[in-house]
Subunit: 340 residues, 2 copies
């Protein structure tokens, strides 16, 4: 029997679009705002400043060890909204589908999105679907946009890191990048790695509640830990100093990276955060993070320093295992395209 597939008609805005929306999307995302089916969704008032973030997801393969493009589109945007010290409330999602896409695959992706949104406590309030002719897109792209309520003033920002602050990381790095690679290449003997993709909003909310004064939060996605640290150093005009021995990396990730010539510090993560805060709050923050399954390996990986005689604002330095200092720069070139 022929598999059911997405047709151009499903993106026409006419009857077939309505059917697709009802049978696939409303089924998995149902909520009063979305079900109203107006051009825009009516959202309840949000009291206070808002956090807004958008991200496009083009990950290849669509389904990979540990997740798929659907839950990734929820986790990734929930996390970006959260990094401003905010509680994510609403998501929108726009699908760009290639004609001929398997409807069963689309249904699995929608189910995964719905589950991830419920777990994060966010409402998928509005959406859109376009279908482009075969060859004009590769299977499925999703753009999700989130808004949330900022819980603290001033909010954490990459520009607020101060000399003397501690640098915390919520867990091991590199798993998402390698999981995508293994899903794509089907390499013999590749370690059994799963993406770390997860929503961190509950952890962020607990950090704001229990610790309060957090200077910067950032999730090290594309470009990895090294690039995110460089961004913070540049935005704040400080130096990030991190110790290789304190950065949690799974042995299998290190082994695979050695084999493939990749650096785990530049691999994408989808369920980790960097937290910069006054050093005297570091212990409490680590306890809060470790109380969550996705933060159980949280560690203090370094410090923020003022630029000294041998360093410049914006630099990130790695104290290597042998004891030397290595300057980390932002990712140059593309390690792996379509990683998220």
């Amino acid at each position: 029997m022929d598999e059911e597939r997405v047709l151009l008609d499903h993106g026409s805005g006419g009857r077939a679009s309505q059917r697709l929306i009802r049978e696939v999307f409303l089924r998995h995302f149902s909520n009063p705002a979305l079900d109203a089916m107006d051009d825009a969704a009516r959202l309840d008032p949000v009291f206070g400043a808002l956090s807004m973030s958008t991200d496009g997801y083009t990950v290849d393969p669509v389904e990979f060890p540990g997740g798929d493009i659907g839950c990734l589109a929820v986790h990734g945007t929930v996390n970006d909204v959260s990094m401003l010290g905010a509680k994510p409330l609403y998501l929108s999602c726009a699908f760009i589908l290639e004609e001929g896409l398997s409807l069963a695959l689309l249904e699995r992706v929608a189910k995964s999105m719905g589950e991830a949104a419920r777990a994060a406590g966010v409402v998928i309030a509005t959406g859109d679907t376009k279908v482009v002719p075969r060859g004009a897109a590769d299977k499925i792209f999703i753009v999700s946009t989130g808004i949330g309520r900022i819980l603290i003033d001033p909010p954490p920002s990459g520009a607020r890191a101060l000399a003397g602050d501690a640098l915390l990381l919520s867990g091991e790095v590199g798993e998402h990048g390698l999981a995508i690679l293994s899903g794509r290449e089907k390499m013999q003997g590749f370690p059994d790695l799963r993406s770390d993709c997860a929503s961190l909003n509950h952890m962020v909310e607990a950090l704001i509640r229990e610790v309060g004064d957090i200077h910067a939060l950032r999730d090290p996605t594309r470009g990895g830990l090294a690039t995110a640290l460089c961004e913070i150093a540049a935005q704040s005009g400080v130096v990030c100093l991190v110790r290789e021995e304190d950065i949690p990396v799974r042995a299998e990730v290190n082994a695979a990276c050695s084999l493939l010539g990749l650096d785990p510090l530049y691999l994408a993560n989808e369920g980790k955060l960097i937290c910069v805060l006054p050093a005297d709050k570091a212990r409490t923050a680590l306890e809060v993070m470790r109380a969550f399954p996705e933060g159980r390996l949280a560690a203090r990986i370094g410090e923020i320093e003022a630029p000294g005689p041998k360093t410049r604002p914006g630099q990130t330095l790695l104290r290597t295992l042998p004891g030397g200092l290595r300057l980390l720069s932002m990712l140059e070139g593309e390690q792996l395209p379509r990683i998220c």
Copy 2:
């Protein structure tokens, strides 16, 4: 000299991404929220209920008579947010670019977006850029998401049309659809038509302020006027009755449609709205609409009726020029893929 092109590297999240963001996007969109360059944008508090809408733009060709994908991504989403009786405030934009795209084209698109946003009075607060390998997408897709403040309670909704209400249309239909087709096909002797794409938020704000009690607003984009009327009839459980002689259509549009076997009532528009309101407010509303250049041909095109012995809830009927009644259904099949 080789033309500068988008590279995979521009979507890596690393140094080249930062350069692209600074040199192309920040240049045309600059504002404090975006310039902060955090994972999410901090937005000032919005007092009252919110309107949120998202739309994916995949229009082919990227540049067409009367506009391009950039201004379209602003107009379309501004209009969708407005249809809930809201004042659009913030937009996000996510770009999915094909490796090899002309940087000059991207720059023109960004410039056009920035101009459209300024004209509409909305802030492009946050964005994202992904680059996929050649052949994995066709040139450029944009997803824009907007949020705004709802100006009236209850807000207009497709579900609030009442028997006895008047049906108004803000201008001539069919121009966007035909402009895209002419841009794509380069047909000999094709009339010189431009897309009607325009932001309608200032008109909506004036309508809410001057008229107040508006039952439904909808912009007849994909699927055209006929599909939008069918949606309102279905959501409200009423019958839409429209008169062909009162629906504004340019002579060139009618002529081109006859030639090509297209129906102007099913062609996409990107700068028109349907307004449903109590009949005694129709005259004032028409005056308000006609005071705007994009509403100067606004017309009362019909009425909302209760289902009668010969009609069913959800039906849309057209009183044709010869005097007969034609049942309009939602668009079946796809008239023109990638129209928006």
